[in-house]
Symmetry: C2
Subunit: 294 residues, 2 copies
DNA sequence: GCGGAGCATAAGAAAAACTTTCGGAATCGC
DNA sequence: GCGATTCCGAAAGTTTTTCTTATGCTCCGC
């Protein structure tokens, strides 16, 4: 873990930012306003950035203060929640399968169709890294799996990035390069993808100099949304072939070019080594491997 | 914010749990092992739970320790990352539309189909509460909007919860109540839904005593997954009518019973009052209202 | 059985956090 | 416009927390 800022000072900052005043923050924390002021000053010096503007008898957040506030608030709120929740026992008898968003609906749910042991399975959709253990996942399906060097990892399948659009989408005679920048749908792949396949790389793979401006087109946060946007005729999208397979076979989407970018890593299954012998986990893993073969 | 545990002690706990030893933790933190020992002890007393078992010259995490470790580690790691990242400026010129997962793909993307101003829009899929401002959302589409009392809120539409299945799904002659528990798909609606529509409430609304065991069926974390599971023939699901509308009209899903549960709140648009006059925001808001009318 | 490693405890030292007081700037009310 | 009030900053002093040191106990490996 890299250097942690002074935690007590972060607490004073968060309270002051929320309250909008050192006096009010002091009341909430049960200290004087001078104490809050000094803590915030200490944090500013530690971070090398001013977090509040002081104007006579008022404080306002700076850009830097505003930028860090949501995450600081979230972390501290969650730590308080952890303490509050500790008294409530939470038993868990379900098998938790944690999946990255793009795979959950597009591949996993259809893949579970024939699994007799699906009762008692909880599917969680989340990005890397996920926790294993009591409150965490029993099995993780993700891309690459590098976030889990100390866990057992099994390759599931490898995919390629292809260009798709709605069947009736109007493509220029000259090819995709002639589309306006606004017709390219851009996907933020999420923290689970170490590399970020983009239109620039796809055109480069075709030996084409076209570089659509990423700021001009619709930008979405999941592969599922990219597919939905393409399906709705909002533009052309780059998506993993296998994940788009159901919709392509159903005719809701078409491949619009034969070029495909190889993806650098496998989609993998990850689980704690200690769980490898659990019958329900073994059955689920075996079934998912079988679903790939289909 | 509720009571926060001693933060320095949390830091000592996290380091010790990761290192597996108070001596190693002391080395990492630059203090003696006795200091770590005392901090952990102070935290255990504060929380009223033992976090480590001590056996002679070894420590192992208790269940309670294991239960809190992932979240404590995540919060502290993120706070360290916040500090590390503060030096990098991040400019943002896009209009960020933040949406709860169920609405993003099922309603929003189709609703954006005719919007001329969609270039430069970034869609983020996240649960409540979201931050507004520089690194946060410009506009939030969510259910109810109670997380944002200090923002401007406009109702968008109200929905009802209906029962759906795949067209070929085998339903008993006697009705849904005769299905086995394992055929009911259960949805964790997410933090954005104050109430959690469930099969028990739906049968109650029919004047039926049937109460499917929530532990027996497939449990999924989003409406989109519930729809996908139903579409794949994994069972029957309760979903918001309007969100299921596209798939029902396309014949991928069918209503399997006329009973519908009213949802308690509207889906709403939320934005900071100060942003109300921004032309791009106004245009987007107006367009979304128009999409509801269709 | 012995030595080494690591945790626990108690007492004391050092550092961090907080309080009090006073000055300055902004805001509010008359 | 003026006076009163509010609130932030700084400095000095006080209190609390954190850390260190020394010693005792248990476990593990040889």
């Amino acid at each position: 873990m890299s250097t942690l800022p002074p935690l007590n000072a972060l607490r004073a900052f968060e309270t002051a930012a929320r309250a909008g005043s050192f006096v009010a923050a002091g009341v909430e924390l049960g200290v004087t306003s001078a104490a809050v002021s000094q803590q915030v000053r200490a944090l500013e010096e530690h971070l090398g950035k001013q977090l509040f503007l002081r104007q006579g008898n008022r404080i306002t957040l700076t850009d830097a203060g505003r930028a860090i506030y949501p995450r600081v608030e979230f972390a501290l709120t969650d730590l308080a929640a952890v303490a509050a929740e500790l008294g409530e026992g939470r038993m868990r008898a379900r098998l938790v399968l944690s999946v990255i968003p793009s795979v959950a609906e597009l591949w996993l749910v259809p893949a579970l169709a024939g699994f007799e042991g699906r009762a008692g399975i909880e599917i969680r959709v989340e990005e890397d890294p996920v926790a294993f253990g009591r409150e965490g996942a029993d099995l993780r399906l993700t891309y690459g799996g590098h976030a889990y060097p100390d866990h057992q990892t099994e390759p599931l399948f490898r995919d390629r990035i292809a260009a798709v659009a709605a069947p009736g989408f109007a493509l220029p005679e000259e090819g995709l390069a002639a589309l306006p920048d606004s017709a390219f749908i851009h996907t933020d792949w999420g923290a689970s993808y170490a590399t970020q396949p983009a239109w620039a790389a796809w055109f480069a793979a075709k030996g084409d100099t076209r570089r659509p401006d990423p700021k001009a087109g619709l930008r979405v946060g999941t592969t599922g949304l990219a597919l939905a946007a393409a399906r709705a005729g909002l533009g052309v999208a780059l998506v993993p072939e296998r994940l788009a397979g159901v919709e392509i076979r159903a005719g809701a989407l078409v491949r619009i070019d034969a070029t495909a970018l190889p993806m650098s890593w496998d989609y993998v299954l990850v689980f704690p080594r200690a769980h490898a012998r659990r019958p329900r986990l073994k059955a689920l893993v075996a079934h998912l491997h079988g679903a790939v073969g289909d």
